[in-house]
Symmetry: C2
Subunit: 157 residues, 2 copies
């Protein structure tokens, strides 16, 4: 397995398969081309035998000079539970640390228990919400009406 | 009419109405919250009587230190042909010029003749494509299969 920075040409490879990685859910809209043109430096691809098996799209906050944000992470269904998420997050952390960022933020859906457990294992803390779902603090309607989110934060040491 | 920088709270105001501005088309996905959290500094709101009547979401390219990108611009249907687009673009241009950017890029759909005419009037040039639609150079499948785009570029002087 190899990890490298995102390339512009990854767009045409990822977009046609990305919905399948999520069992048919429409996820392609989460990957507008702008990330492949302008945020390659803090986004990563994991490959196995020259096939993409995982990716992380992240960026340095433009407004908050000490923050970085992870927008979207995906692992091919056949390659889950192989530590690819951790490899991607570790690379992102090292990259943004070099850019003097002190905090990484990201969000997930309250139903995504795997994601919540992953982030907690990776040392993210859950930010205060306005309600609790299965013991987890959740911010109601964070991504628009009906779209509650769990907000994660990790301090870089 | 007043112009100001984007605020985080604009998200909850804009998202419920944005699809209506486009006659019911699903456009809310073009406005993920990350822009309201991390790119406020180069994004703008035009208000009339404290109501939002126009917005521009743009950012400084993280990878290309001389570039800026305009992601998404909208004007309330009742406020079109009032120069709001020009006001937003002029403000963006001045902002990114201060950040030493030399080039602004953006894209539009080949069917959007109003947008193509607007960008040409604003001094954008159309980049080379791989086909021509109604006399305009177009890049096939730029935003995924079937999603051709016109690519604009403007040098800042």
């Amino acid at each position: 397995m190899e990890i490298r920075s995102l390339q512009r040409s990854d767009y045409d490879v990822l977009i046609p398969q990305i919905n399948d990685w999520w069992g048919g859910r429409d996820m392609a809209g989460m990957l507008p081309k702008l990330f492949f043109n302008h945020f390659k430096d803090t986004s990563f691809i994991v490959e196995e035998d020259e096939e993409i098996v995982g990716f992380l799209i992240g960026f340095l906050s433009q407004d908050k000079s000490d923050e970085a944000y992870i927008h979207f992470v995906g692992v091919h269904p056949d390659y889950r539970k192989k530590n690819i998420g951790k490899i991607l997050y570790d690379n992102f952390l090292n990259k943004v640390k070099m850019a003097d960022r002190k905090v990484i933020r990201c969000i997930t859906s309250p139903v995504n228990k795997t994601s919540i457990a992953f982030h907690q294992k990776m040392g993210f803390v859950i930010e205060q919400g306005d309600k609790t779902v299965d013991g987890v603090a959740v911010k109601s309607n964070y991504d628009g009406v009906g779209n509650d989110r769990v907000l994660f934060k990790k301090k870089i040491e």
